[in-house]
């Protein structure tokens, strides 16, 4: 299967620490409903805090609390730079 890379598509795992982004949408995944219940719904602003010392998982700040998730789960979250 060919993988189509959309140049305009930014996923959460590629966002640099310190940057804030806005959630566009979430791709289907077993975690999707849990992520949304914890406040990661389209339109929500996320600040990327850091990667764990060994590179994975990552820590984000969302709705005034901190959450950690693995990079391959973060890849399912499509974001846009916060204007």
């Amino acid at each position: 299967m060919a993988i189509v890379v959309d140049k305009n598509r930014l996923t959460l795992n590629r966002v640099h620490p310190g940057s804030s982004v806005k959630i566009e949408y979430l791709e289907q995944s077993p975690l999707k409903e849990r992520l949304m219940s914890m406040g990661l719904v389209p339109g929500t602003v996320i600040k990327v805090l850091r990667s764990a010392p060994l590179g994975d998982p990552m820590a984000i700040s969302v709705r005034s609390y901190n959450l950690s998730l693995r990079l391959n789960d973060a890849e399912k979250i499509i974001v846009a730079p916060k204007v």
């Binding site: 914890m38 850091r50 994975d56 998982p57």
Partner: protein, 629 residues
């Protein structure tokens, strides 16, 4: 008047359990919810002549009934209809917390909202109006601050004076419920509709927040964030983690736990045992009874009791660290390593407990998200060097490797850890290969732990060990005493002719290729299944060393002569490896049955660990011989 029933609900990390502990203190009962391994915490308190019962429901982010915890919360609230449902909200994190609140209101469950941690919210520059929140949703709202006895006790006054029937959802909430019901009744896939409803809830939350929270003056960097730049960031985080864990083990095994354990050992095995022995001699009871009490019961139960200080100290340290919020960072840092073994970062905490005692470690696996993570964690815990294996390792190392004793003990720890990792990986790719595991973990704000909660948790985790000393070990001490003092023709003075000697001789053939096929070793292996520490006391008795438990150095000297004849350094090493890895003790096996609900897993845990131990000790002995030890 009838008992007033209160149910506490709320997200994890809101201080809900602290409130529960503060209100009920030691008047609480921890049990199980029927059919699932989730703690059920009930507490009782009298206030102004009113009997109040409080249940601390599991902390959940939502009540979608996707996990056993969520199922328990919603079932309990809908079926039991408690007089007051308290929704404990972390004010510094009010947005996400209100999600659960809205779900409760959608079920038309009236809630008393407790805006907890108000002090933290204020410190972060958030001004929250509880009055406006109450007006907007139609429910009563109270404020409390974290870790304040006074502020929490005030809740009791509110409980006895609040009549929940007099409150109902506001128009705003009813309109929201209508919108939710319209989506549910409409066309479309279930999941898509649920996602729409989730977005709808956060839309409403955003509106509510805009009215009730004044975010002017919010500090851009929180204290937690500043601490995390040290503790969870870059490569400095790893050495800090190791240092902290090293500190925990130092406190447990050197500074506090061990000195108390040594004292207890003296008090029970020398002082108390001596007094009872003299007393029984004076009264003139039968010799067999005196022997049963002194050598069987006191020695057996005493050997377990002396580990109690070690275990309680370790659990106190771990509960304390957990209370600060640091354990979530340990999971965050360790996740990639644990993941390689097929586990998740959250599995670190129960495994660390396994160095104290396997029983709470196996029970601690409850906190893990998926069935697969729980099972693997439960099945690999027995490989770790628990507090009861440590004295066996220490003694054998002192006897056979006097120059390198602590290094050899350290190697045993490593062998246990490595086998746990390898078997976790093997179980992941064989038995549980289709099961998903995920890692989504809140990093809660750093807090100073509530001492009452830390102590209650320590007690809750450690008490299983006391129960074990009082029940199983008591019974088994009697059994082993009987087996080692009797044979088919009745009592025998020669232990070499006892039941235990025959049994030991029978199974010793299994260890021909491991170099320790003596009946004494065989008997020690049998008693070791009862309790690992029994390996030493059995050998002490069988080699007629006398009271080996007195102190390690003397015992080592005595053991040296006794063991030297039947073990070489290499076969002793193989025996240590076998003891490190083989079957968990009966208490741990019983816990495995209880936690998994199936006998199958008890037998599996017994058989596969013993098989692994047999193979690894064989390899150690044979390879060791080849390379000339």
């Amino acid at each position: 008047m009838a008992t007033l029933s209160i149910a506490l609900t709320g997200n994890p990390n809101t201080g809900k359990s602290t409130i529960f502990n503060e209100l009920t203190g030691i008047r609480q009962k921890i049990g199980n919810w029927p059919g699932v391994t989730v703690d059920k915490k009930m507490g009782y308190v009298n206030h102004k002549d009113r009997a109040i019962s409080i249940v601390d429901l599991p902390g959940t982010y939502s009540i979608n009934a996707r996990s056993p915890e969520e199922q328990i919360v919603i079932d309990y609230l809908l079926n039991e209809r408690p007089d007051i449902v308290v929704d404990v909200v972390d004010s510094s994190n009010i947005e996400r917390n209100l999600f659960l609140t809205l779900q409760l209101l959608e079920h038309r469950i009236p809630v008393l909202i407790d805006l907890n941690m108000m002090d933290e919210a204020t410190k972060r520059g958030l001004k929250i109006s509880s009055k406006k929140l109450s007006e907007l949703i139609g429910m009563p709202v109270v404020e409390t601050v974290g870790r304040s006895n006074k502020s929490t006790r005030k809740l009791l006054d509110i409980f006895t004076s609040t009549v929940m029937n007099s409150y109902q959802n506001s128009e705003l909430i009813e309109k929201h419920i209508n919108a939710v019901e319209t989506i549910r009744a409409g066309a479309g896939e279930h999941d898509i509709k649920e996602e729409k409803i989730i977005s709808l809830r956060y839309d409403l939350i955003d509106k509510i927040i805009a009215v009730i929270v004044d975010k002017n003056g919010v500090a851009s960097t929180t204290t937690t964030e500043k601490i995390d730049r040290f503790l969870a960031n870059g490569f400095i985080a790893l050495p800090i983690l190791l240092l902290l864990l090293y500190g925990v083990f130092e406190i447990t095994f050197t500074w506090i736990g061990q000195p108390i354990a040594d004292f207890l050992n003296f008090a029970i095995n020398t002082w108390f045992s001596g007094i009872v022995d003299d007393a029984l001699s004076t009264i003139g009871v039968a010799a067999w009874l005196q022997s049963l009490v002194v050598n069987g019961v006191i020695a057996g139960v005493g050997s377990v009791l002396t580990f109690v200080p070690l275990i309680f100290t370790l659990f106190f340290c771990l509960s304390f660290l957990d209370g600060t919020g640091y354990m979530a960072r340990v999971a965050f840092i360790m996740d990639p390593i644990m993941r390689r073994a097929g586990l998740t970062g959250k599995g670190v905490m129960p495994l660390i407990m396994g160095f104290g005692c396997g029983v709470p470690a196996i029970m601690g696996a409850r906190a893990l998200d998926s069935e697969k993570d729980r099972m693997i964690s439960i099945l690999v815990t027995p490989f770790l060097t628990c507090g009861a294996k440590l004295p066996v390792m220490a003694l054998f190392a002192a006897v056979f490797f006097p120059q390198n004793a602590s290094n050899v003990v350290f190697v045993m720890y490593i062998i246990g850890i490595v086998m746990a990792i390898i078997m976790a990986k093997v179980l992941t790719v064989t038995t549980f290969k289709d099961k998903q595991s995920s890692f989504l973990l809140e990093l809660p704000p750093y807090r100073i732990p509530d001492m009452k909660t830390v102590l209650l948790e320590t007690w809750d985790k450690g008490k299983g060990y006391l129960v074990k000393a009082g029940t199983i070990i008591f019974a088994m001490s009697v059994l082993i005493w009987f087996l080692s003092n009797y044979n088919l023709s009745g009592p025998t003075d020669e232990m070499t002719e006892s039941f235990l000697a025959y049994l030991g001789a029978a199974i010793s053939h299994l260890f021909t290729f491991q170099g320790f096929d003596t009946w004494q070793a065989g008997a020690a292996v049998i008693t070791g299944v009862v309790a690992k520490e029994a390996v030493i006391s059995t050998m002490g008795i069988l080699y007629n060393v006398g009271d080996v438990a007195d102190d390690t150095v003397d015992a080592a000297n005595q053991m040296m002569t006794a063991l030297g004849g039947s073990f070489t350094a290499l076969s002793a090493f193989a025996f240590m490896v076998f003891t490190q890895l083989y079957s968990p003790c009966v208490t741990a096996l019983g816990t495995i049955k209880k936690e998994t609900g199936r006998w199958k897993w008890l037998f599996f845990a017994f058989a596969y660990t013993t098989a692994v131990a047999w193979v690894v000790s064989l390899l150690v002995y044979q390879i060791g011989r080849l390379i000339g030890f």
